[in-house]
């Protein structure tokens, strides 16, 4: 063959007389010879539902997403693997998270128990947690008790109450409600987030809304002047294969840039008639 070796590696399909394009030409084709297809969000959700019908699988299965992240900042710096909780607009599970409230005040303890805290207590809980007798999904504390909770720092690590994660504050009912219904995700392998976001029998708009909430929350972890943090997005149900998604309508960054451009355009338009008026007068 007269074609040089390098072209073979660069092309997505093996070199032939007429090089294969990313889109197949025939109606029946071998999928491994073409680029992996990416779908629009609504189309992908529709496909997952159809797969469930065709495969006779459980209708109430969960929908998962795999998000591949681009953690690089400028000059060899990287975003640290983070974990965060987000309230999904449409609940898909009836499980409630176990929340543990640290407070010395009796009234606050009463309020906490009313609003559904699993465990409420003061300093005696510290010993039990250190000995692993008690475990909870989330830990909430009031500012007054923080100096006494320092020994738990190493034990709780990420779950340690802090104002950045909204787990430190005086408004116990609000914090409790947030943490009982929130959905938590972490970054695994420094790059990937794998989470459940919805059930397959929910309407498509609910699934899409949940997905967008999660993605918007992920995008807050990297400053917007760099490349978008989400590199690839794959959606799947618990029994089907993964579908690659188009990132166009999902990332929040594009909207803010467009808004800024629109604002600038609007400002210029406003200034121009003002200038014309001043010149004429």
């Amino acid at each position: 063959a007269k074609r040089p070796r390098q072209e073979k590696v660069k092309e997505k399909a093996p070199p032939r007389r007429r090089p294969l394009m990313a889109m197949p030409v025939d109606d029946v084709y071998l999928t491994w010879l073409y680029k992996r297809p990416s779908y629009e969000l609504e189309q992908a959700v529709g496909m997952l539902k159809r797969f469930q019908e065709l495969d006779f699988t459980h209708p109430k299965q969960f929908v998962y997403i795999n998000v591949f992240l681009d953690m690089a900042l400028q000059k060899k710096k990287k975003v640290d693997p983070f974990s965060s909780s987000v309230t999904l607009p449409h609940r898909f599970t009836d499980e409630v998270n176990k929340v543990l409230v640290f407070t010395e005040n009796q009234q606050e303890a009463e309020i906490a128990r009313e609003h559904g805290a699993a465990i409420v207590g003061g300093l005696e809980l510290i010993k039990w947690i250190l000995e692993d007798e008690i475990q909870a999904d989330f830990y909430v504390a009031v500012p007054a008790i923080i100096p006494k909770l320092i020994p738990l720092r190493n034990k709780l690590k990420r779950k340690y109450p802090s104002s950045r994660r909204n787990s430190l504050g005086s408004d116990i009912p609000k914090m409790l409600q947030f943490f009982r219904e929130c959905h938590e995700y972490t970054v695994e392998d420094e790059d990937i987030i794998k989470t459940r976001i919805a059930r397959l029998d929910m309407p498509a708009e609910h699934i899409i809304a949940n997905l967008k909430t999660v993605i918007h929350d992920i995008c807050t972890f990297k400053p917007s002047n760099f490349d978008p943090i989400v590199r690839r997005l794959v959606i799947r149900s618990s029994t089907s294969e993964g579908l690659l998604l188009n990132l166009d309508g999902i990332l929040p960054q594009v909207e803010t840039v467009e808004e800024k451009e629109e604002e600038n355009a609007v400002d210029e338009d406003e200034q121009k008639p003002a200038n014309q008026e001043s010149v004429s007068t």
């Binding site: 294969l20 030409v25 025939d26 109606d27 029946v28 999928t31 491994w32 010879l33 065709l54 294969e241």
Partner: protein, 298 residues
Amino acid sequence: MLAPGAAGRALRRVLGLSRGLLSPGAPGMAAGRALGLSRGLLSPGAPGMAAGRALGLSRGLLSPGAPGMAAGRALSLSPGLGSVVVERVWPVPLARLGAAPRLHPRRHRVFRLLRDGKHLPRSRMELLLTRSVQGVGRRGAVVSVGQRLGRNRLLPQGLAVYPTPENLRIFQDQDKLAQEGKLEELQTPSGQKTLEFLRRCRLQVGMKNNVSWELSPDIVARHFLKNLGVFVPPHALRLPPEPIRRWGHFWCDVTVNGLDTVRVPMDVVQFLRPKTKRFWHWREQQRQQLERSREQLL
């Protein structure tokens, strides 16, 4: 046309080496070429050259268009597959008008190789197809094919001709017809590959035992994609006329591009979650252990 004056400095011989070429040319050339690499040979072809030894071609010109040389090779622009072009190292002094140049027996037999056709890359030839050929092109198309294909298959079998102006004129009208849609549909190369793969493959469809199901084209298409990695739209599938509701061996017909159909054997088996090879190996071992213990007991 052959300038005798140039014989002094740039004298060259074109010696043709025949390799069994069927170049449609003057028979005299074929005879001359068949005699191999003997340098005393006259280059056949041009009438003027039969008498003398002076080939007055200027040095830089390998004019293939010169009718003298290329009379047999018609429109091929290459100087001939096996041509060896040599040049005398020592110039031959000019002779009297009308007389042949006097060659020194040793000095004028020293040659320098200029070009050896057998070491050059094989160039391609342009041909005009008279019939649609798989892997080459449609009828009426001027394609560039390798010389081997053109001379051994297309030209002898009449599948193509040389693209002379007369031939092109004949096929011009055909071109217009083809564009209007009277094309003979050819299978695409990717379609060919798909067909070859489908002829070798076997589809396994896993269906559950706790639901009552009936196989439909959508389900079979989904299994084609999942198990074999072949995308088949449901309209290109044809299933057996009786509805399939139980496990067993069946078939399905896949039509590629609406042209060719392949019958793919289909086994409908019980659905199993995908298991690793390790698991199957362990299962096999368990089964063998059971056999052995059974033999011991009996």
